[in-house]
Subunit: 294 residues, 2 copies
DNA sequence: GCATATCATAGGCCGTGTCTATGATGGACC
DNA sequence: GGTCCATCATAGACACGGCCTATGATATGC
């Protein structure tokens, strides 16, 4: 496995023009450097230098390799430098729970263009556990996701709390009702939102009440689920925040689950610095506004 | 000095999520990986992971470092790959002797745009010895420079031979003459072309004939030298190929030096492949045409 | 409170990168 | 043509350090 010190030998030979000077430059003896280059060539599978007496010249393979070797060394130097100095992040990596309406994020991103002091943004979608994992890996900086009382692993900023509700087509016989019991939906075809954080609870709720529906669709997208509902394919249960002209959202009786949506901050980020930039403030405002007005 | 294996440990921890799984992934024991990370952190000057029991999370420094670590690993993989496979060069790196008229190269580059099968080109200027060094280092592929009989280090393709001549302003008293002896220029102010491959020979030629002129300018650019001559600042000696409306080029008596201009091919390049592409053919044609017509 | 998971520490083994010493080869120079 | 000097390659010894097993410290979960 090609090691770094071999690259330094290699580059030194290129720069110095011969093995002896290269060895001196690397603070090793000439034989050491010689076996090093030999080892590198063995690993490369072919000679990297043409040894004529009096001087060495790169072979074609050596010339190709040199470009990458230099880049690697430069990147090492940069890495060693950057790990010490606190360079501010240039992009905000935002995780977004899949069960948050896509429209909110679209609006947020659209309006972000006008926000002064905004950061370039990078969005990563995922389920709750995906986002938590990405957050702990340092792959994202902030997650717009569920905030749970028991999750104290990350600094949390709750934005709103909401319940879950049925989603029926506007033409559904029960569309005018305010609250509907599970039993009343016994004959209804249903749609499974596979990404839902409450999937098993919902399933349990119905089976416990003797309702074992046929599932007309299993989807990972809430937008498609809404489309199916609107078209009359079936009904489903979704977070209350999802609204659409073609569907109604009556309560499901005795289904008291709620969720709190908010921001979770990765352990590696400077939270105040992120809030200082207007980006996250804009996101929080947008989410709250969408929740109220949606 | 941060070694490659430490980077692999580091990245494995990020990917695996904890030290034990990372160690397994690297085929080392957990303690080995543990001391490896500790070593890396000591070299980095600060912790890269937040160790809470149950899991590890990247620190801010760790997150910054991770980007570069991944890039380095990717580049290593690429280097190992590229050194084996013969990927054709995508650019032709051309060295050009500084004492070759800039206009030739400009015309060549301009016309190259129309040449089918051309390679993107990258030009490196330098004196003869600079180009030879770059060529042997594999930094350039071909050099348009002096071809000497005794230089058999590189494959050579001569294009033309020429002498050297005086350069006088068109208004100079001796401008009409075909040949001028050094002694006739005793009172003339001269211009030193510092980059000239024949500088010392020229100087010797004059001093040997008792001419010790005042030097009005020392320049590294032939175009500026011509400008000085044209403006009447002084006279100089240049390769015969330099022409300009404002100057005349009489011979310098008993100055029999000539030079052969041609292409030198780096040891690392596949010469036939390069000629196969139309780029070098175009260059050779252009140089010969400029020489004839110039 | 025991079982289980985590990462850290200690001490010894051994691979390998390093050294010095020497050889092989090919100009340069008289 | 023989000597000198430069080049890179090879051989054998040393020792640093990366690796192991064994054990400890600490927190979580049933």
């Amino acid at each position: 496995m090609m090691d770094r010190y071999l690259l330094r030998y290699f580059l030194a030979v290129i720069d110095a023009g011969n093995f002896s000077r290269a060895a001196a430059q690397c603070n090793v003896s000439q034989p050491t450097l010689s076996v090093g280059i030999a080892k590198l060539e063995r690993q490369a599978g072919q000679p990297l230098f043409h040894r004529t007496n009096r001087r060495v010249e790169l072979t074609a393979a050596g010339a190709r390799f040199a470009t990458h070797a230099r880049r690697i060394e430069a990147e090492f130097a940069l890495a060693e430098h950057v790990v010490r100095e606190a360079v501010p992040r240039t992009t905000l990596r935002l995780g977004v729970l899949v069960t948050i309406p896509a429209g909110w994020i679209e609006t947020f991103v659209t309006r972000l263009g006008d926000t002064p002091g905004r950061l370039p943004i990078e969005i990563v979608e995922g389920r709750e556990r995906d986002l938590i994992e990405q957050l702990s890996r340092g792959r994202i900086d902030v997650a717009l996701t569920l905030v749970r009382a028991e999750s104290d692993r990350f600094a949390a900023e709750p934005l709103f709390e909401e319940g879950y509700a049925l989603a029926l087509p506007a033409s559904h016989p029960l569309a005018g009702r305010h609250t509907i019991a599970a039993g009343e939906l016994a004959d209804n075809v249903m749609i499974v939102r596979r990404q839902c954080e409450l999937l098993s609870d919902t399933s349990r709720h119905f089976t416990a009440r003797g309702v074992r529906p046929f599932f007309a669709a299993r989807t990972l997208s809430d937008e498609r689920a809404i489309g199916y509902v609107r078209s009359g394919l079936g009904v489903t249960v979704m977070p209350a925040c999802f609204r659409d002209p073609g569907i109604v959202r009556p309560r499901l009786a005795d289904f008291a689950f709620t969720r709190t949506i908010g921001l979770l901050y990765g352990a590696h980020v400077d939270r105040t610095a992120l809030r200082g930039g207007a980006t996250l403030t804009a996101l929080a405002d947008e989410v709250r506004a969408a929740r109220r007005g949606g």
